[in-house]
């Protein structure tokens, strides 16, 4: 019976021009979106390889310089000497910490155009290093990207609603619903049959076109976690679609005419996808506003002034403990400068820490509020899920930043002892390198499944209520 239903429904749908238009528009949008995604990933890869090349070139150059200086013993200004550990650590030797694009990064550009994928790690303060940004027209950042996530979050529900808003009401208005229900089939079964056919068409188009585009765009499907991510992606696309189909069934179950249904679903789409996310943003930034960076800048500057003022005092105390080291001369002056700078930097970091911590705590509170509110808007849930699948969301970037912090400490751990031992850098290769450790796939799976559940549960609920209401559907009149 179901098979006959499906076949019949498919024939009816095939004859409807609207569905073809919808399918073609959708496929075109997905194709265009994937092209954008693939181009973006190519840009990030290109930038990262440019960074790697720059680092190797620079290191080769300074190693050659170091070798020449060691050999010829020509005099060189301390600020221009790559063997000077302070200069090596801050200017000549810094290496890049890079976040490689995840296997499915073309699917959602997410925050990766705003949060940089690479940082040049030196002995500078941590806030200076992670405050760097990628070059992008701010207007483009404001406007957003036409990527697959945009098509799925915004267009996909609209298309689902476009083919389902009148699936029952049009049959009723034409009079064919009563005829169909004269057959031994319940309205619930009929509705489910209609939904299945439409779902197969739309989900099929999404998955099919995107897979083709992904593969032809060179996504590394063999990478660890790629298959899992593809599975997750299909699951969330199905869950999100299921939610909107369930919503359509619920609206249809009220038995209103097609025109009214159209208005209702359009309003629901507008509310859930366009308005609620902005309103949540408004709420979160008003209730938990992040303290001003401007105030943070001032606080850190005041701290630096105090530390610098104390710098000479710090040095004097150091020499009181090590009188044998106070020899005098330009070499001495350079070493003194290096040591003061280390002591001052540490002091500034210590004083600035509470300010920065307060900042990050407030940001965390804002994030938590959004994490709770987002279950009210499927669009936010879906965007988050797609960002996590693509590896371009905030959690993965935080994971990266934590590693950057550790690497920064490692870098300072390499440079500072050289400063205190007053040793020159002779082998640039010994400077530590950054190795990115990818997130455990289990963590990604967990996050995405929570979002998917946030969509599946309301979907099941609405479908259940809708199908029950269909029992009292006014089939005629």
């Amino acid at each position: 019976m179901i098979a006959r239903l499906l076949r019949h429904e498919w024939r009816v749908l095939r004859a409807d021009a609207t569905v073809w238009v919808v399918g073609v528009v959708f496929a075109a949008a997905i194709g265009y979106a994937m092209v954008n995604g693939v181009r973006w990933v190519a840009f990030v890869r290109h930038a990262e390889s440019a960074a790697t090349a720059e680092e190797s070139e620079r290191h080769a150059q300074i190693q050659a310089q170091i070798d020449a200086l060691q050999r010829d013993r020509k005099p060189v200004a301390p600020f221009g000497d790559p063997r000077n550990p302070t200069m090596f650590g801050s200017r000549f030797g810094p290496r890049y910490a890079m976040l490689p694009p995840a296997p499915l990064a073309a699917v959602a550009i997410g925050q990766s155009d705003l949060l940089p994928s690479y940082f040049k790690v030196s002995t500078d303060a941590r806030e200076t290093i992670v405050g760097a940004s990628e070059i992008e027209n701010p207007h483009r950042l404001l406007v957003g990207r036409f990527d697959l996530a945009f098509v799925i979050v915004f267009l996909y529900p609209l298309l689902i609603l476009a083919v389902t808003y009148n699936m029952l009401s049009s049959e009723k208005e034409q009079g064919t619903l009563a005829l169909a229900l004269a057959q031994p089939v319940g309205l619930g079964t009929l509705t489910i049959g209609k939904v299945i056919v439409r779902a197969l068409v739309l989900v099929g188009v999404v998955v099919g076109v995107s897979m083709i585009a992904l593969v032809s765009g060179g996504a590394s499907l063999g990478a660890p976690g790629a298959i899992a991510r593809i599975g997750l992606w299909m699951a969330v696309v199905a869950a999100y679609g299921g939610l909107w189909f369930a919503l359509a069934v619920l609206v249809a179950s009220f038995g209103r005419p097609s025109a009214t249904n159209a208005t209702i679903v359009a309003t629901l789409w507008l509310l859930l996808v366009v308005m609620l996310p902005s309103l949540f943003n408004l709420l979160a930034t008003t209730i938990h506003p992040v303290p001003s960076r401007v105030e943070m800048i001032q606080a850190v500057r005041v701290a630096s002034d105090e530390a610098a003022g104390a710098g000479s005092a710090l040095l004097a105390r150091y020499y009181e403990d090590h009188p044998e080291l106070a020899t005098g001369g330009a070499e001495q002056a350079m070493n003194d400068f290096n040591i003061i700078r280390v002591a001052v930097d540490d002091d500034v970091a210590k004083r600035a820490r509470p300010v920065v911590d307060r900042y990050e705590r407030q940001l965390a509170r804002q994030q938590t509020m959004i994490d709770r509110l987002r279950f009210l808007s499927p669009a936010v849930l879906m965007q988050d899920a797609l960002n996590d699948v693509a590896g371009t969301g905030v959690p993965r970037h935080r994971h990266f930043l934590a590693q950057v912090d550790r690497y920064h400490a490692q870098w300072r751990g390499f440079v500072v002892p050289l400063i205190f031992q007053k040793t020159r850098v002779t082998n640039a290769d010994l400077a530590p390198r950054f190795e990115y450790q990818e997130e455990a796939t289990a963590a990604v799976v967990r996050r995405v499944l929570i979002a998917a559940l946030g969509m599946v549960i309301p979907a099941v609920l609405m479908a259940f209520i809708g199908l029950r209401r269909l029992r009292r559907y006014p089939v005629v009149g």
Partner: protein, 476 residues
């Protein structure tokens, strides 16, 4: 006749339940967004003013030190917020809030507010501009899609036209009715907005704020009028009111969500920008030119020797350190102007593509104009960057001139070493005037957004002409 039709339309609309709900929603969201915008503006404005005063105070209260150390200490410049940012925050969330003006480097603005927010930020902030650009057109569409098509379906259109009502009068009357309904809703919000602006009368920053507000209102009215005209035109020509609704909603969707993204793709495809690492590498390569520096220094030294009529550089009554520092700055300034200039010009070319793209979607046009008048677009930001950079160069010149004017006598001798390097104190710091920034004139804004204004005009004229053409050709 038109007035009578308008009054009838207005009455009918007010009595419609749909209208009440939509009107309440639009008014509610407008007021909410204005309130939040005002609070954010007040907070940020105060923070920036306090910070600007603090950085000036830090500069003035530096201890005695060598002027070059002071140049390295530098000052911070904080981008001031324009009062009209209450209405349209533009690209401000995506641009840094502060820049460090130090020696030898033109730094970038740091700390984009959006980078400190959650991913939901990318869905947009519900600013008043967003409401006016996205929600109000939707309201117009929902209120007018059945203006003609609905009447045709009910049969009243035939009756009206049989009375001898000119189709153009009918169209204008309906447009006026919708306009009046819209006015009823937006007038309270507009008054609130103007009151908020008046309350933020620090006066200093935005010269010509009155003109900008008036122009903003006018351009938004043109945008709404365009939508009313398009909506009525579609309604008059569509076969059924359902088809009219679908077409108009598709237009609204394309206009609000798709057009700007596609324009962004086209803009960056036509005028690509480099990655940060490539940009830095190219700039550093141009900066590290020791031969160029030597050449410059030699030229300048020769010039100075001619000026002071001496035979050798040692006989010059000025400190050569100051000369070499200033030549370094001059070289750096040229490099920065070249590289940043090229980058910002590329951004501006991209923005022109957005403006011209207004031909395909009026939202692109009104967005550029709105951001321009609110002082929150890239052009305004570049204007500030230029002013801050000029101030940085002023600081460097003042410090280097002072070093030049105070050569340490008997340099190299033990006596000079004992005396130590030249140091200066608060009289020198006070020589540098405080950083005063004046916002550009409204005419400058209009010149920068001329393409958008032209596109808005084109849309308005074409839509109005289209709307007023006789509909008698269509089956009634």
């Amino acid at each position: 006749m038109i007035r009578r039709i308008a009054r009838k339309e207005l009455t009918e609309m007010i009595r419609d339940g749909r209208f009440r709900v939509l009107a309440a929603a639009v008014l509610g969201v407008s007021v909410l967004s204005l309130a939040v915008g005002w609070k954010q503006y007040a907070d940020i404005s105060r923070q920036h003013q306090v910070a600007q005063a603090a950085t000036r105070s830090q500069w003035l209260h530096q201890t005695t030190k060598n002027p070059h150390s002071a140049a390295h200490y530098g000052v911070y410049a904080f981008k001031p917020k324009s009062p009209l940012a209450i209405v349209d925050t533009g690209v401000d969330p995506y641009m840094g809030v502060a820049v460090w003006l130090e020696a030898h480097k033109q730094n970038e603005f740091k700390y984009r507010p959006a980078a400190d927010r959650t991913a939901v930020e990318r869905f947009g902030e519900m600013t008043a501009a967003e409401t006016l650009q996205v929600l109000v057109p939707l309201f117009i569409v929902l209120m007018t899609f059945s203006a003609f098509a609905g009447e045709r379906e009910q049969g009243t259109l035939r009756q009206l036209l049989s009375l001898g009502v000119k189709p153009r009068d009918l169209a204008l009357g309906k447009a006026a009715g919708v306009g009046a309904a819209l006015g009823l809703i937006l007038l309270p919000a507009a008054l609130l907005g103007v009151a908020a602006l008046a309350l933020t009368s620090d006066g200093g920053f935005l010269s010509g704020s009155v003109w900008r507000t008036i122009l903003l209102v006018l351009f938004y009215l043109a945008y709404f009028a365009t939508f009313v005209a398009i909506s009525l035109g579609v309604s008059a020509r569509a076969r059924s009111s359902r088809l009219a609704l679908v077409l108009l909603l598709a237009f609204w969707f394309a206009n609000s969500l798709i057009a700007s993204r596609v324009a962004a793709d086209v803009a960056s495809w036509l005028h690509p920008t480099p990655s940060a690492v490539e940009f830095q590498k190219a700039m550093e390569a141009d900066l590290n030119q020791p031969q160029e520096m030597e050449r410059r220094l030699a030229l300048r030294t020769a010039e100075l020797m001619r000026q002071y009529r001496v035979d050798s550089p040692e006989a010059l009554p000025i400190a050569m350190q100051g000369v070499s520092l200033q030549e370094g700055e001059n070289h750096g300034d040229e490099v920065f102007d070249a590289h940043y200039g090229r980058l910002f010009d590329t951004f501006e070319r991209q923005n022109t593509v957005y403006q011209v793209g207004g031909l395909a979607a009026p939202m692109l046009a009104i967005r550029s104009v709105s951001m321009g008048l609110a002082g929150t677009d890239f052009n305004q930001h570049r204007h500030f960057i230029t002013a801050a950079e000029a101030y940085r160069r002023l600081i460097q010149r003042t410090m280097n001139d002072d070093i030049m004017a105070h050569p340490v006598k008997g340099g190299g001798t033990a006596d000079a070493e004992r005396r130590g390097p030249y140091v200066a104190g608060s009289e020198l710091w006070a020589k540098v005037p405080p950083f005063e920034y004046e916002a550009p004139a409204t005419s400058w804004v209009l010149a920068n957004t001329r393409w958008s204004i032209a596109m808005l005009a084109v849309w308005l004229i074409l839509a109005s002409v289209w709307m007023s053409r006789p509909i008698a050709t269509r089956a009634i």
